[in-house]
């Protein structure tokens, strides 16, 4: 969908996510979100009656994106492991942004965000274990993906991290 056609509601969630990812929860205020989306604060609060509802709306959208991602992973050309690893480093996609944003919210003790992230991870893990037929290997690969993701979101990522991982996973016959 072209950006110009996005509903105000969607643009508000976009703005909320963008602020969460780039500056953290303390900077993602209603004022800032409204400004980022070029809407007044009153306009924002028409669509979401509270900040809590804004979080809720974001998580609903994340779950939809998550279902689509697991489907893509299952049928990926190079296989699920490769797909999972390459998408664990932030590619700047809308889904990445939503995922990182939810992570920030989860760290503020929000059980809804934690639950959404846990469900997503379970979906990925199921595909990995089915494909590999090896629980330990599947869990370890998921941890590597979490590490890639964590490093990316904390500004700690190494340039060649993925190359090194592929090297090791090839030795294990997982790639």
């Amino acid at each position: 969908m072209p950006a110009a056609e996005r509903s105000t509601r969607d643009r508000l969630i976009d703005a909320f996510e963008t602020l969460l990812v780039s500056a953290g929860t303390r900077s993602a205020t209603l004022d800032a979100v409204a400004a980022e989306a070029n809407v007044s604060k009153g306009g924002l609060l028409y669509h979401f009656h509270s900040k809590d509802e804004l979080v809720e709306g974001m998580l609903v959208r994340l779950r939809e994106q998550g279902r689509a991602d697991v489907d893509k992973m299952r049928t990926a050309k190079k296989g699920p492991v490769d797909f999972y690893l390459t998408t664990s480093v932030n590619t700047g996609s809308a889904f990445d942004r939503a995922l990182i944003a939810a992570g920030r919210i989860a760290q503020e003790n929000d059980s809804r965000a934690s639950a959404a992230l846990a469900d997503l991870r379970e979906g990925w893990f199921t595909v990995l274990r089915e494909h590999l037929g090896d629980e330990s290997l599947a869990r370890t690969i998921q941890l590597i993906g979490d590490g890639l993701y964590f490093d990316d979101t904390t500004g700690l990522s190494e340039k060649n991290a993925l190359k090194h991982v592929r090297d090791v996973l090839t030795r294990l016959g997982a790639l």
Copy 2:
């Protein structure tokens, strides 16, 4: 050092870290920190003239703890890889708390916190690579540690994660 003898300054940093870890940056206000440390806000601001100085003090202490941790890792009885992995899951130690707290601050776009964490990671990586003589394996193990740490701090940790990792690393001859 017994808890009763800890200086007010140290207790304030303790309280700040505790709040960051348990409830996130939005909840770690000066009011809340002072209350957690059983000090008035004025008392807090005598020791740290601003919230920024409180962050600074926390990071100084983290770097000291980090140096001690790398030393312990280097001389660990079961070897640095085992030490690194077992200490990547939150054991509830003061160092773990400081590490997680710094991670929260880093996500609010604080370059000092990011730099401190990056330096710590570099220290661990150096020991891993020296011990293993294999950069790809060292990087991969570091990512697994990051994954364990991330899962722990987001409430996503699996009970048997470490067991699965040990299994896979044994196949690779790293343990």
